[in-house]
């Protein structure tokens, strides 16, 4: 981006925004401004305060201190009423949340119309709205079937509905929270092309990201947040990747790299695994995991990764096909049996599936092995050994908590993940299934997770790494397979793959096509 819209009027101004949650300062004196037609990237790692800041802008939170001013149609800045999403909408701010805020049981059109007509209205004027939307879609290039139920749309389509929601309300400022997290590289490119077009038409855009490449490629200006404070605000032309990375992370954290290592024998085999129907179903999935390797599974969210993880975790039996470990049949094995045969499972949603929040750290560390003799005698719990083992795990895995008696829900995401790692990896599993293991974690915690996975690999375990983060996959995996609409491609060695090829496969292009 060269010609900055320097003489364009300011449409948004945040002044000294401060927000604390208990002892944590999510935002400290953050100021930002945005001009008409400008694309601002808000860069920062997980937990830097980007989403909090945007939630304050949109009225989901009230700042402890500071003001937000928004430009009116005639160009003057007016203070925005805090804590009111409807005031933010009224002022022309549109927000696309990372987790889409769409009612799945309604059509795209209904979701867009929601709240735009007075609730006391006797009828809604859909045909007029539809015409207006057709016009908007034609101008912006955002095409969606307006009559389709949201539950039948793909992730990319849902995102387009979210953007249309904002455009339909004549948004002058559009905020997107991690918009590419769920897209293929190609879809991301399309999205940014659309955003540039919208900016040319005068829309001011903020997008939140922690991916340096897209920040440099798509923004006019970059604001970097670290630890809740703004540490830089630069024109993108003056930035390079390394400089931004340093600004974002602050201190240098050694990235884990895998050492070359010859893989061993086959451990886990899935052949022809098929499950029911629906978007997330698997169709004839074949997989062979070797000892001492990390096998990456790439794919856009919702293409069957969840089901694949469930099947290997023993939570869902395949309708067809078979699973075996070292030649033992595990096709219809329960979660219990999977654990006992040495499969460690790191769930995708650690809050939902990983911990029992109100139970203590010690209990959460023991939960997978509670019936083992070391934890119980004649059905009665052995509190001493449970607590002692918990203290060992807390020390070995550096789990930050008040004590082993503290409820697990009070821990941070990174520490919760450490509980899961400690209890699964401590049993010296021969197979590790890690589903989105670093999602939502900061750089330090992510490095920790990666180190543990590499250690397991070095020990000779086979690791299945399901991830939507291509950087993570390329760095850790020995081989990468791609899952698309429930079909799993044959894996290729990481050395012969690049992002573009993977992106095409994630979008459903077959291998021959891509090559």
């Amino acid at each position: 981006m060269t010609d900055l819209p320097g003489d364009m009027p300011t449409v948004l101004k945040l002044d000294d925004i401060t927000k604390t949650f208990g002892a944590l300062t999510a935002n400290g004196d953050v100021s930002l401004s945005l001009r008409r037609g400008e694309i601002l990237a808000l860069l920062g790692e997980n937990g830097a305060g980007k989403t909090t800041l945007m939630n304050i802008l949109f009225g989901h939170y009230v700042a402890d201190n500071g003001t937000v001013e928004v430009g009116t149609k005639d160009g003057t800045l007016v203070e925005l009423e805090p804590g009111s999403p409807s005031a933010a909408l009224e002022a022309g701010i549109g927000m696309v949340h990372q987790h889409f805020t769409l009612a799945e049981n309604l059509s795209a059109l209904e979701n867009i119309l929601l709240g735009t007509e007075p609730l006391s209205a006797f009828r809604s004027s859909r045909s007029k709205a539809k015409k207006h939307l057709d016009d908007l879609m034609a101008r912006s290039g955002l095409a969606v079937d307006l009559n389709a139920r949201i539950s039948s749309l793909s992730v990319g389509e849902k995102q387009r509905v979210e953007i249309l929601k904002a455009l339909y309300r004549d948004a002058r400022v559009l905020v997107l929270d991690e918009p590419t997290a769920v897209l293929t590289p190609q879809e991301s490119d399309t999205l940014f092309a659309t955003l540039k077009k919208l900016a040319t038409d005068g829309l001011a855009i903020i997008f939140i990201s922690h991916k340096l490449d897209e920040v440099i490629a798509a923004s006019d200006r970059v604001a970097v947040l670290r630890g809740g404070r703004k540490v830089a605000d630069l024109a993108t032309v003056d930035c390079d990747k390394r400089h931004l990375a340093e600004l974002m992370v602050g201190k240098h954290i050694a990235e884990n790299a895998r050492d070359p290592q010859a893989p061993g024998d086959t451990l886990l085999t899935l052949s022809g695994v098929t499950t029911g129907s629906g978007r997330d179903a698997l169709h004839g999935v074949n997989l062979e995991l070797l000892s001492g390797e990390i096998l990456g599974i790439a794919g856009v969210s919702g293409n069957g990764q969840g089901t694949l993880a469930k099947v290997i975790s023993g939570l869902q039996a395949p309708a067809d096909g078979s699973i075996s470990l070292n030649g033992d049949n595990l096709t219809a094995a329960s979660a219990r049996e999977m654990i006992d045969t040495g499969i460690a499972r790191i769930p995708e949603d650690r809050h939902r599936d990983g911990i029992v929040g109100p139970m203590s750290v010690a209990e959460n560390l023991a939960i997978e092995h509670i019936r083992k003799p070391e934890n119980q005698r004649f059905g009665f719990l052995r509190f001493d050994t449970i607590a002692a083992r918990a203290r060992e795990a807390i020390a070995a895995y550096d789990i930050r908590c008040q004590s082993e008696k503290a409820p697990a829900r009070l821990l941070s995401g990174g520490n919760i993940q450490k509980i899961v790692l400690a209890r699964t990896l401590d049993a010296n599993p021969c197979v590790v299934l890690a589903a989105q293991p670093s999602r939502g974690l900061d750089v330090g915690a992510t490095a920790d997770v990666h180190r543990r996975l590499l250690e397991a690999r070095a020990r000779g375990a086979g690791v299945i790494l399901i991830s939507e983060d291509l950087d993570e996959l390329m760095r850790l995996s020995d081989r990468i397979a791609v899952i698309h609409r429930g079909h799993l491609s044959a894996p290729d060695p990481t050395e012969i793959l690049d992002r573009g090829t993977l992106g095409l496969r994630m979008a459903g292009q077959s291998k021959e096509h891509a090559a």
């Binding site: 208990g22 009230v62 203070e79 925005l80 009423e81 805090p82 804590g83 009111s84 975790s313 023993g314 939570l315 329960s334 979660a335 219990r336 999977m338 654990i339 006992d340 499972r345 769930p347 939902r352 599936d353 990983g354 911990i355 029992v356 929040g357 109100p358 139970m359 209990e363 939960i367 997978e368 509670i370 019936r371 934890n375 119980q376 059905g379 009665f380 719990l381 503290a406 409820p407 829900r409 009070l410």
Partner: protein, 360 residues
């Protein structure tokens, strides 16, 4: 504007203070219906107090009333711990009572050491089996257990009526729909001469201690807590969720069944279709007042029992409807629900209004 901020684990004094405060508030709120019924409030509270604690007889009556409430309270507390919403303790109580009468009123004659345990066991089994149905429907088919257990209450009470008017009717009952009397060998011992207080209270206390140990000290209890707090994570960690629900369902129903056993084999000596004035539903209030803690259930049941006995006695003295007791109990439930928020959250009143004012 009100904000809720999650609180660190609640301290023990707070854990006790809050339900006590709720009980006191509910009692204080009872002044409104009392006054509207034309009572002198202090006199009415006095009558309730003496009605429940004023004499040894009153006190034992209160304990007698507490026995079934402890058991139905435990039934609810245990089930709710696993998030199994058993609202069917009323029906399970009748099933237990019916089984006790079926076994204990002459079908078998045996010495008390054999017959009495058999009566108790069959009553518990009957209650448990009644709860097994809704539990299986929940785990196999995903049928909401709240509605099925509620509807089963009506079905079972009608079934009891049918038996009492038909095959189990007492031929010596002068036409009343009541069962034949229990054999003496099948009766729970009285605890005090000339008082109605009976062995059911011992069963209730023992059950409370048993459930306390189960939840706190055993693997099964661990699994029940894990399933109740986060069934997804429990399943992922290899805990047998379905089996846990079935165990909890059987045990919860059995506890309610025991309450029925106590009423026929301890108190009445025979079964009628109105032995329970809603013990099953009051048990839910007891469980909630107790914060689902088994030991708390004992205390909460004593409180609810004193309200029932006290209000009965006040009602006899003043002629005011004893539905007042049900009203106080219902208000106690609502009060304890609200006060529970003070346990889980720090409640902050932010002055959002002034911020809004400044913005305008």
């Amino acid at each position: 504007m009100i904000r809720f901020e999650p609180r660190e684990p609640a301290s023990l004094p707070r854990l006790i203070l809050i339900p006590v405060a709720a009980a006191v508030i509910a009692l204080a709120l009872a002044a409104i219906p009392m006054m509207s019924a034309g009572l002198s409030v202090f006199e009415a509270y006095g009558l309730m107090l003496t009605g429940a604690f004023g004499s040894p007889f009153a006190f034992t009556e209160m304990l007698t009333r507490a026995a079934p409430l402890i058991l139905t309270g435990l039934a609810a507390a245990l089930a709710f711990r696993a998030k199994l919403w058993n609202i069917g303790a009323e029906g399970q109580l009748y099933a237990g009572a019916l089984a006790a009468v079926a076994v204990g009123s002459g079908w078998i004659d045996a010495p008390a050491v054999v017959l009495l345990p058999l009566v108790v066991f069959c009553g518990a089994m009957a209650g448990g089996l009644v709860m097994l149905g809704p539990t299986l429907l929940k785990t196999r088919l995903g049928v909401d257990e709240v509605v099925t257990t509620l509807l089963l209450n009506f079905i079972i009470i009608l079934f009891v009526q049918m038996m009492l008017e038909g095959p189990m009717k007492d031929p010596m009952g002068m036409g009343w729909p009541q069962s034949e009397p229990m054999l003496d060998n099948a009766m729970l011992p009285k605890l005090m001469a000339r008082m109605r207080i009976h062995g059911g209270l011992i069963i209730a206390f023992a059950s409370a201690i048993g459930i306390y140990i189960l939840l706190k000290k055993t693997v099964w209890g661990f699994e029940i807590r894990a399933v109740g707090e986060n069934a997804n994570a429990a399943r992922h960690a290899g805990i047998p969720v379905t089996a846990t629900f079935i165990r909890v369902g059987l045990l919860s129903g059995a506890l309610a069944g025991l309450a029925g056993v106590g009423e026929v084999a301890g108190l009445k000596g025979y079964l009628t279709a109105d032995i329970s004035p809603g013990f099953g539903y009051s048990g839910i209030v007891v469980a909630m007042l107790a914060g689902l803690s088994p030991i708390g259930v004992v205390i909460a049941a004593l409180f609810i029992a004193s309200i029932f006995v006290g209000a009965d006695s006040m009602s006899r003295a003043t002629g005011v409807s004893n539905y007042l007791a049900d009203l106080i109990v219902a208000m106690a439930l609502i009060c304890v629900l609200i006060s529970g928020l003070f346990l889980r959250f720090k409640i902050r009143f932010t002055n959002n209004k002034t911020v809004e004012g400044a913005a305008k």
